[in-house]
Amino acid sequence: DAGVTQSPTHLIKTRGQQVTLRCSPISGHKSVSWYQQVLGQGPQFIFQYYEKEERGRGNFPDRFSARQFPNYSSELNVNALLLGDSALYLCASSRTPGDSPLHFGNGTRLTVT
């Protein structure tokens, strides 16, 4: 089975722009979580979605939003990009919200200039 897939792998945007990141979970996994990993730091939780509903939200501004589709894939949107949004964005999936472990994708490297 394919693992968690994310696209694009790299992205360069300028301040003020908007970006959409995509994630396809492992087949059979219905829960998708998003994490932000700044260089040299551990991943920080942004969102969790299950059955198309938001189940959890981390301490991120409203510029960050996400959604999950009927096929359980997910998109993360970030508006009005700031330089500080430059990071590796990781998507993780699990069968259900409480199921372990989390399976991570390779991430999308976002650079904001």
């Binding site: 920080q44 939780f45 990781l90 472990p101 994708g105 390779n106």
Partner: protein
């Protein structure tokens, strides 16, 4: 709520042992350990649950001291493939979610 890991970095020769510590100021329900190699996704190693037993996987094992809100990862007879950054992720409650708080990581380098 972010756990603190120590040491920040360690260099080992093949065959040596290492201990990585993770501590929290909050009561923990579970501790998850991941290893991330440069440019790759974090890979799950093991989970330790409140009230559970010490876990082991080949030469990598871990413990969870609930009273001290601490977990330790033990790597014995290290191999070159153990190199990477190790993260602990913590859950305060079992609210049916996997909203993990990750530490800042421990960079492990194993040299021949």
């Amino acid at each position: 709520q972010q756990p603190v890991q120590s040491p920040q970095a360690v260099i080992l020769r093949e065959g040596e042992d290492a201990v990585i510590n993770c501590s929290s100021s909050k009561a923990l329900y579970s501790v998850h350990w991941y290893r991330q190699k440069h440019g790759e996704a974090p890979v799950f190693l093991m989970i330790l649950l409140k009230g559970g037993e010490q876990k082991g996987h080949e030469k990598i094992s871990a413990s969870f001291n609930e009273k001290k809100q601490q977990s330790s990862l033990y790597l014995t007879a290290s191999q070159l493939s153990y190199s990477g950054t190790y993260f602990c992720g913590t859950e305060m409650t079992r609210a049916g979610a996997n909203n993990l708080f990750f530490g800042t990581g421990t960079r492990l380098t194993v040299i021949p």
